[in-house]
Symmetry: C2
Subunit: 199 residues, 2 copies
């Protein structure tokens, strides 16, 4: 059912991303070419572009981008978007999101840290991450009109406030060293925004 083709596509994407991360960590983002990444992953450069679009996409590729609107709607409570966001982050942070290697040293594996670090150290990647936040905002904006207390324009503003507020919290987390759980930073950082939806 999974489709043999689709299955191989996923594993190919994973290995490309991993090889890319390896090279980036080793020599720096700017010093690695797409061609080298393709060679390391044993695919053609064309495939890298087909899968990720841009070089930055290798780091920013986001499962939320491909999530269906319906699934997104279940995640987000229009009455308490900040709480929903914290919950999503908390679930996302739970184990299993470190590839499926057993317990042990987690520093070099694939916590969020490894990818996200580049959001805040590599300007072009930061820009791409901002664009991803922007796309996310466009998707959740309609979901915020729920209560009927805000119109479409305000929903758009609040969606941007949420997604980029999240981004800001993520940066604080990064600046702190990226050790403590992200959810705490989101809870604390976005606390003032809760007043928007307070009764």
């Amino acid at each position: 059912m999974a489709g043999l083709r689709e299955q191989w596509r996923r594993t190919a994407m994973r290995t490309i991303q991993e090889r890319a991360l390896d090279l980036f960590d080793e020599r720096g983002f700017g010093a690695v070419t797409i061609e080298e990444i393709a060679a390391a992953a044993e695919v053609s450069p064309s495939s890298v572009y087909r899968y990720f679009g841009t070089k930055e996409g290798l780091l920013v590729a986001d499962e939320f981008d491909t999530m269906s609107p319906a699934a997104l709607g279940e995640l987000l409570d229009p009455a308490d978007p900040v709480g929903s966001l914290v919950e999503v982050v908390r679930r996302y942070e739970a184990p299993q999101h470190g590839a499926d290697d057993g317990p042990g040293d987690r520093s070099g594996t694939d916590g969020p840290w490894r990818r996200v670090r580049y959001f805040f150290t590599e300007p072009s990647v930061r820009s791409a991450a901002l664009a991803a936040m922007d796309r996310a905002a466009a998707r959740i904006a309609p979901l915020l009109e729920g209560g009927g207390t805000v119109d479409a324009a305000q929903a758009r503003v609040l969606a941007h406030a949420l997604t980029f507020g999240y981004f800001a919290a993520l940066e604080t987390w990064h600046d702190d060293g990226g050790t403590r759980p992200i959810a705490g930073y989101v809870t604390a950082g976005l606390a003032p925004l809760r007043r928007v939806w307070a009764s």
Copy 2:
């Protein structure tokens, strides 16, 4: 005092920007090369890069980027940032911001419309605009800690909420055709955010 050098630099930047806009409007952003812009403005391509850094910078170059922190501090009231923002937009929209051509047809001249249009029609320009908002947020964040009611992390979140909320309002304005004043869209769109600073 103005420095003869600095003066010519400014006029050069103006003409480059105007020629670029002309070409973009005529043939589309993607179909114009830096080389053509440089030729039209009678400067070298090197100068275009020196002045604006990137092709998108031609449209996103922002006087707030170069504004001193002190001047920024005077514009922004930590107790009512939304009101301050509206006030800045209102002042920015007042006449005189249309170059120094006399009254008359304003459609083709240089209202905000002409540049801002590309923020929402050209993806790469949108991305650059988001980056500019991000830089602005980094600059105003420290100013929001005024009351002592928010810490640095929360100030960063709120700064992003403000700047990208503004961006969202701007997009609504654009989608509406860009005719009515922007300040109205900012006031209406950011209204829910006022609750954050409500006593």
